[in-house]
Structure formats: structure tokens, C-alpha cells
């Protein structure tokens, strides 16, 4: 099963430390030294606040990803249980943005400049920090532990617990 990050809206205080940590993890520590206007601030998770909910939305790393199915350039692929975007292949067609039912993908400007002088734009989404940090960075920094990386084992455990509770309730 693919892993994914789950937010607990009772714990989330909407502080967006997670959003910054995402940018820092992907840009590297140099971000604190370079020209303040010399990089793009593109968190891969999105803060949602309604009257009743505060929680960041991440890519679900679906088992049959709609984004992957819709990708025209073959840029979206699954590796080691993570849905990833090959930024070199991405042509910014936005199919994935439309296809994703969670709004977890967006098209962002990169620091790369194209022939016509405009910035290259590509799809951006949560990559579970594969290759950039030991654990997903947002999970690590969240001050209220509102975020958790859910893996195969965690999910079956929680489902087993729920089934046990359901059975116990039915037995009464």
C-alpha cells in the first residue's frame, strides 16, 4: 500500500509551520541565505480553513492515481509506494490538477527560465519528502503532532481496532 499523510483537524491549529517546512526541505538550508526574492515559495500541501475545520491537504498517494492516469507526458509515476512527478518530463498540461479529486496538485513557477524568458511551470505535489528529508518534514515540525505518516501497517491496525469495536458494540 502507498503511504500518505493524514491531518487531524482537532489537533491542527492552522499555524502553517508545515507549509514552510515543506519549502525549506525542498529548497535546502541555503534558502536562509540567498536573495530573498531569488526562489519560489511553493509548499506541496495546502491549508484549508472553514468555520469548522483547519487542516492541510496533502496528496493521498492513491493506489490508482487519477493524476497518473491523466498525465499526457508520462511524468507521474509510482516508486517505492510513493506517487511522484518527474519534473523533467512534466509539460505543465494541468490534466493532473483537474483529475485529482483532492486538489492536491497545482501548477507552479520554477526558478528555471524558458527560451522565451518566461519561467517554466510544472506540477507540484507532496512527495513524502522522498530524497529530501528523513521523515516527511511537515510531520516532523508540526507543533501539535497533527500530522501522521500512515503506512500499510498503521492502516491495518486501525482498521482491525475499528472492527473489534464494532463487533463489541454489536455483541451488547
Amino acid at each position: 500500500m502507498n503511504s500518505f499523510i493524514k491531518a487531524n483537524p482537532i489537533r491542527c491549529i492552522g499555524c502553517r509551520t508545515c507549509l514552510i517546512s515543506c519549502v525549506v526541505a525542498h529548497e535546502g538550508k541555503r534558502i536562509f541565505e540567498i536573495d530573498p526574492d531569488g526562489y519560489n515559495f511553493n509548499p506541496r500541501l495546502f491549508m484549508v480553513k472553514t468555520a469548522r475545520v483547519s487542516a492541510p491537504v496533502h496528496c493521498r498517494h492513491c493506489e490508482n492515481p487519477a493524476c497518473k492516469a491523466s498525465c499526457t507526458s508520462g511524468a507521474i509515476f509510482v516508486k517505492d509506494n510513493v506517487v511522484l512527478v518527474d519534473t523533467k518530463k512534466c509539460i505543465g498540461c494541468k490534466n493532473c490538477v483537474i483529475a485529482c479529486p483532492f486538489g492536491a496538485v497545482e501548477i507552479v513557477e520554477t526558478a528555471e527560465v524558458q527560451n522565451d524568458g518566461s519561467p517554466r511551470k510544472i506540477a507540484n505535489k507532496c512527495d513524502l519528502c522522498v530524497g529530501v528529508a528523513d521523515s516527511p518534514s511537515c510531520v516532523k515540525v508540526c507543533p501539535t503532532e497533527a500530522l501522521a505518516l500512515v503506512t500499510d501497517g498503521d492502516l491495518s491496525q486501525s482498521v482491525a481496532d475499528k472492527r473489534r469495536n464494532a463487533a463489541a458494540a454489536a455483541a451488547v
Binding site: 491549529i13 499555524c15 472553514t50
Partner: protein, 731 residues
């Protein structure tokens, strides 16, 4: 890079009063921060918010919003003449001569000192008030607690004798009932909000009284979405129910309090039905709240500026303290009162006596014995007349006709009244009319534009010392980097001015200052540097230097209050409406609030790359979707917000978290500066301004392209006034 030049240094966060512990990895040879992460501390348990994690790169002077001050500067040829870079000797002499001249001509009370509740730390705070009292000879010393929690200090002192949090931050999570009123922990103190979340998970019942749906309101068991400015009516009615339904802790009230009859005289009128007409709540919710609150011996009241920044702030605080007394909720863990201080060292700056009526350690300036003690220690005659509060400076400058009674010199360390005080137009006029203004700070700010002398100081991270967290915990701060440029620690600058004025003040380090202070303050005597080092945090009172006295977790043990006779006083007042209410021309109620990623006047956080990227100028005005629809406004659109006092541009943010008729703005934006709009009416006893209520209007701007350009122009203009040259940034 030489390997041994890399060091790990632990210090206390410079932003909010939680006092999180941060560990810096520094390359000392390169004078460069390599890494920062939170580590275990009494209040933060290894966590930090976005400011702690990512709010330090302003130290490198990235010149985003404004520029670090690097050289002393003075206006040699009088007002309006250009600021010129001079040597420290010349700057100190200039300031000392002017202070002396003004003192001789107009007397000591023509001077007012504003201490810093931010980076400089407790030792610098002690020096600032010592300078004001011993050198200038006046008690005109104050700091920004006046504009945030002075009402908590005044209201608590009048009832329970002590203005600080009675419980400590970790105790919050073990409360059974949390009554959270006018306090938005998620935005002000994320790491305190964490304790509220934990309390909820541990089964606490949370009642949140707030006109907005804050994060705490969102997870609360009951949200009392009361009308802004009706706090006193609500708390009075809670007392009314507690008394009329006999939910009182009779034993506690009898043994430890007085004033019950007078108290009842006031609150008996505030039946839930009557309070419902003022607050807009239901009488049933009010009854339920009172019963729930009184049902537990671990009930905690948390409050913030949502009750203090009203002209009835002190009254509300008094009644909150009374609620806790009526129900016997004092003197044990996880109960009591929690006025959670905003900035990192507001508690400390109060502790250090940067207040017009008390010496360090809350010792009254009008008590002859105390006066004699300080006179002996400092070797000078001291004034026994309480000083004036900094919010009254306009009154003593532009509104005072008799020059002999005016303020003529204003020494401002690490504060920016031209951004943080209400009614900025009036403040600017005031600053221009004071004969001599000294700004001692780390960044160019809006007040610096009015200064006659600019004294550049080291920032947090560039000097040693200690702060007091909001729950009375003294914690060390340590030098992480060497300050760049011709800058000095605040305490050293002030000592040099004192010495130049003929009162030698010399210390080799902050520990020497600290030791002088603790020996003069019985409540703090035990809190030595050594003990702070060993324990990490020492909560006052800590009376004894021996290792046995580890400090005090919660106050008022066994119901003994900090009043002179140890008895608490039940007190409150009748409700009256805010000073300026909505009207035809200005139909909306404007309230100022906080933005989680920015602190104070934003000179620090506005110059941190990540925090700036998360939220930037011109800020937002939060409005209800209904009000937006009526004006035809969409999210992100630039709008004009106006009050009787001025107008600003900001962006519109429709949100269901806000009720129709109310609008909210954060006060740290430089373009969307809501203090252009706020009113300077003050609470009569604490002199805290009514930031939380004034009448305003929002106007749609048809030509958005023009509006965007206009905002961009204003921004560039501010940046150039703050000495940022665009090319320089790019180079």
C-alpha cells in the same frame, strides 16, 4: 571550515511569551548559523512554532522590509537636519548633554523612558528603569505591556495581588474545564495552543468566549460567540449565576476573600436574561457556562488581549479573578487565572520594574521603606511620585498647554510607537513635538523617522541575558552570533549615557546586573544564573539562593493571596459600551488581532524570508461573507478601510469565522497599518487603549489595477524611507 569552530548553543525564542528552547548550530569562525531546531524546555517540550523554527534569518540583514541599524547617528543641526553617522563617543555625549539640558530646564518629570519587552532582555530592562529613576530622577518609565496586558496587571493586583499567570503553561493540559475568553492561543502562542489541544484530548471541557471562530472556538465544547465589547456583561452574569444558584465554594470565600457584599451589589443586576440582551448570547448558555465552570476544582480561565484591550479591560480582569475566587479555583495545580503574555519578555519587563509605579520585583515607589532601600543601593535620592504611562504621552505633549508640565525628552528602546500605538496620526504629531527623541533599536522603524539620535543595539542572538516567560519562568538567552557593525548591547549603551551624565554605571556582563537586581528583589533572590543554568527555567517567586528553592509552579498556595493581608478582594463593575460604536458613516466594528507568523511591529519577522513569504503586505481585513457580498468584494481584492482617524489599503478576506458587522485587521502591516484607524481612548486605571473596538467602513475600489500599483508605490516608498536601496539588495 575548521571543525572545532562549529558549536551548539541553546537559547530562548525571541518571539512570544511561551519561551520555547531552541538549539542553534553555529559556525563561529564564519559567524554563521548552520541549523536551528527546538529542544526540550519546561514550556515547549521540544516543539516550536513557525517563528521559532524559521524566524531567525533577520539577523543576517536580508533587507526585505527594512534595514539593520549599524552606526550611531545624530541630527547635529537641530530638528529636521539630516541624520549624520558619528562615533559612539559623540553620540553618547550628544544624548547625555540633551537629557541633562532638558532635566535642568524642565525638571526630571519632563523625561519619559520606554523600555523594551523584546530582545534586550531582563538585564537591559533593569538598567533602563534604573537610568530613568536614578539618573533622570523620575518614575516616568513604562513599556509596551501598557498597550497589551497592563489591564491584567492592574486588575489582578487589585483583587489577588499578583499580575502574572497564577498557573504555569504545562498545567493547562490537566485542567478539567477551560474557560477561554478573548484569547486566541493559536495565533498568539501556538505552543500554548498545543496545551489546550492536549487538554481537550485528555477530556477537558472547553468553553470559548470570542466574537470570532478562532481555532480554540472551533475545537471547543461550547462557543460563546458574544458581541465584541460585551465581556464585562458576560463575566458579571457568570458570577450572578454562581452566586444565585449557590455554586460558591463557601469555605474558600469565607476564609480567603472579602468584598462579597459589594460584589453582589454589582452583579445581582446581571441575570443571564439581562446579560443576554447585551452579549447576544442565550441565557441558557450563560447558565450552562457558569455551572460547568463552578463544577470543577481544576477550572482555568485563560485570557488575552480580547479582554484587556478595552476601556473596561481592568474591570473584566477583576471579575475573572473573582470567578476563580468564588469557586475556590486557586492554590492548586491546574486551576486559576492565565493572562498569557504576548511578547517574549513582557512579563520580564514588568518584573524588572519598567512600570511607573513599581521598582523591580513589584515594590511600590510610594512605599518609603522600599524607596530608602533603593536609594541606599543606588546612592541617589529617588522620586516617590508614581510616573506617567506611555499611552499618555500625547496628552502630555500635544494636549498639555503648560510647557512646564510637558514631556520634553522621550527615550525609546526597542519599541516602535509610530506603528504600535493607537491613532498613529496623533502619535506622529506627538513625536514631532517632543523636543528630543532617542531611538535605540536594531532596525530602522517608523519611530526612527522622528528621532534626534539613533543608537544601534545588538539583537536577540547577539547578546546574553535572560527573559521571563509568560508563566513567570526566568530562562537564559545566549549569544549565538557576533553582531556586525558598530553596535552595542542595550544595557551598555544606557550605562554609557548614565556615566556621561555624571552617574557612573559600569558592569562587566549581564550576570553582574542580574545579581544586583535579585539582591534588591526578595521574590527573585533565589533565581541565580547558576540555578537557571541547572534547572533550565526558574519560576518566581524564588526566595532563596540555595538549591532547595526551585521556584514556584503555581501561585496563591493554600488560598494565601499576594495582597498585603493575604486576603483576596472580590470586585467588578457595571458594564458600559465601548467608547466609539458603529454609526451610519462607519457601520462596522473594527477589532485588531494577531497574525501567527508575524510578531509585534514586524521589523524582525518581516525580515525573515519564510515568514515574509507566508504573509506579506498589505495584509488582510477579515470580513463576513455577507458583508463582502453587500459590497461586492472578492477574496484578495484591495480595499480601503476608513475610520474617523484615517484610512489604509489592505486585501479583503471573506471568512465564515467572522460575524456580519465586525471586521478584523492585524496591526503589524506597514501599508495596511490598522493603527491609523484605532482610537486612543484609554482604560481609566490601566491606561490601555481600546484597540479592540472602533467604528470603521470598508470601501470597494473599482480600479484594481490602479490599487495594486498604488500599494506597490507605498511599499517602495516605505522601503526607501527605511533606507533600502533596491540595487543594493540585488547586488
Amino acid at each position: 571550515m575548521a571543525k572545532n569552530s562549529v558549536k551548539e548553543i541553546q537559547t530562548t525564542c525571541c518571539y512570544c511569551g511561551t519561551g520555547c528552547q531552541l538549539l542553534f548550530t553555529v559556525d563561529q569562525a564564519a559567524n554563521k548559523i548552520l541549523d536551528v531546531h527546538p529542544v526540550w524546555g519546561r514550556t515547549n517540550e521540544g516543539t516550536a512554532c513557525l517563528k521559532g523554527w524559521y524566524g531567525w534569518d533577520y539577523l543576517n540583514d536580508p533587507q526585505i522590509l527594512t534595514k539593520r541599524l549599524r552606526e550611531p547617528m545624530i541630527r547635529k543641526n537641530g530638528r529636521k537636519s539630516p541624520l549624520e553617522v558619528v562615533s559612539w563617543d559623540e553620540a553618547i555625549k550628544f544624548v547625555a548633554d540633551n537629557f541633562k539640558r532638558i532635566k535642568e530646564k524642565w525638571g526630571p518629570d519632563s523625561f519619559l523612558g520606554a523600555a523594551s519587552a523584546r530582545g534586550p532582555g531582563n538585564e537591559a530592562g533593569y538598567i533602563t528603569q534604573k537610568f530613568t529613576r536614578a539618573v533622570m530622577g523620575t518614575n516616568n518609565i513604562d513599556h509596551c505591556a501598557r498597550i497589551c496586558h497592563a489591564a491584567s496587571v492592574a486588575g489582578s493586583r487589585q483583587t489577588i495581588g499578583e499580575g502574572a499567570m497564577s498557573l504555569s503553561i504545562p498545567e493547562i493540559e490537566d485542567a478539567e474545564v477551560i474557560f477561554n475568553i478573548g484569547y486566541n492561543a493559536a495565533a498568539s502562542h501556538p505552543i500554548v495552543a498545543r496545551r489546550i489541544v492536549k487538554a481537550k484530548e485528555k477530556g477537558a471541557f472547553i468553553i470559548c468566549a470570542d466574537p470570532r471562530i478562532t481555532e480554540t472556538a472551533r475545537i471547543s465544547d461550547l462557543h460563546l460567540q458574544l458581541k465584541g465589547g460585551s465581556n464585562v456583561a458576560l463575566v458579571n452574569s457568570l458570577a450572578n449565576v454562581i452566586i444565585s444558584e449557590d455554586l460558591i465554594d463557601h469555605e474558600f470565600v469565607k476564609a480567603h476573600t472579602k468584598g462579597f457584599d459589594e460584589f453582589w451589589e454589582v452583579v445581582k443586576e446581571y441575570t443571564p436574561e439581562y446579560a443576554a440582551t447585551i452579549t447576544g448570547l442565550s441565557a441558557e448558555d450563560i447558565r450552562f457556562t457558569a455551572r460547568k465552570y463552578a463544577s470543577s476544582k481544576h477550572s482555568v480561565i485563560l485570557w488575552g488581549m480580547g479582554i484587556t484591550q478595552f476601556s473596561q479591560g481592568v474591570e473584566t480582569v477583576k471579575c475573572c479573578c473573582s470567578l476563580a475566587m468564588l469557586t475556590g479555583n486557586f492554590g492548586r495545580p491546574s486551576c486559576g487565572t492565565g493572562p498569557v503574555r504576548g511578547q517574549n519578555n513582557v512579563q520580564g519587563t514588568c518584573d524588572m520594574g519598567d512600570l511607573p509605579d513599581v521598582y523591580p520585583g513589584y515594590q511600590s515607589v510610594t512605599d518609603p521603606e522600599i524607596q530608602a532601600k533603593f536609594e541606599k543601593a543606588w546612592g541617589v535620592k529617588l522620586s516617590n511620585k508614581a510616573g506617567i504611562q506611555l499611552t499618555r504621552v500625547p496628552e502630555f505633549v500635544i494636549h498639555e498647554k503648560d510647557p512646564a508640565k510637558r514631556i520634553h525628552a522621550y527615550y525609546i528602546t526597542g519599541e516602535d510607537p509610530a506603528q504600535s500605538d493607537p491613532d498613529l496620526e496623533e502619535i506622529r504629531e506627538t513625536l514631532d513635538q517632543v523636543d528630543f527623541v532617542v531611538v535605540q533599536d536594531i532596525f530602522w522603524n517608523k519611530t526612527a523617522e522622528h528621532a534626534d539620535a539613533i543608537l544601534p543595539a545588538t539583537a536577540w542572538g547577539e547578546h546574553d541575558g535572560c527573559y521571563t516567560s509568560s508563566d513567570r519562568g526566568f530562562q537564559r538567552i545566549r549569544k549565538v552570533l557576533e553582531g556586525q557593525g558598530n553596535i552595542l548591547p542595550d544595557w551598555e549603551i544606557t550605562c554609557r549615557i548614565a556615566t556621561a551624565m555624571g552617574y557612573p554605571m559600569h558592569y562587566n556582563n549581564t550576570e553582574e546586573i542580574w545579581n544586583e537586581m535579585i539582591d534588591l528583589c526578595p521574590k527573585f533572590t533565589g533565581a541565580t544564573y547558576e540555578k537557571m543554568e541547572r534547572q533550565g527555567s526558574v519560576q518566581w517567586p524564588c526566595w532563596d539562593k540555595g538549591p532547595g528553592d526551585k521556584g514556584t509552579m503555581f501561585l496563591h498556595k493554600d488560598g494565601r493571596f499576594a495582597t498585603p493581608d493575604g486576603i483576596g478582594i472580590l470586585k467588578t463593575s457595571p458594564y458600559h459600551p465601548p467608547t466609539e460604536v458603529e454609526n451610519k458613516e462607519f457601520p462596522l466594528a473594527l477589532c485588531t488581532v494577531r497574525e501567527v507568523g508575524h510578531y509585534s511591529v514586524r521589523t524582525m519577522t518581516g525580515n525573515c524570508r519564510m515568514l515574509r513569504n507566508l504573509e506579506d503586505e498589505p495584509g488582510w481585513v477579515e470580513m463576513s461573507p455577507e458583508d463582502c457580498a453587500e459590497l461586492g468584494l472578492r477574496e484578495g481584492e484591495i480595499v480601503k478601510v476608513l475610520s474617523k482617524r484615517g484610512s489604509v489599503y489592505t486585501r479583503c478576506k471573506p471568512t465564515e469565522r467572522v460575524k456580519p458587522g465586525a471586521v478584523y485587521m492585524t496591526y503589524q502591516w506597514w501599508i495596511g497599518a490598522c493603527n491609523e484607524l484605532t482610537i486612543s481612548s484609554l482604560d481609566p486605571s490601566s491606561r490601555t487603549p481600546e484597540y479592540k473596538y472602533c467604528a470603521a467602513r470598508v470601501e470597494k475600489i473599482k480600479d484594481q489595477a490602479w490599487a495594486k500599483q498604488e500599494v506597490a508605490h507605498i511599499y517602495e516608498d516605505i522601503r526607501s524611507r527605511m533606507h533600502i536601496v533596491k540595487e543594493e539588495v540585488l547586488a
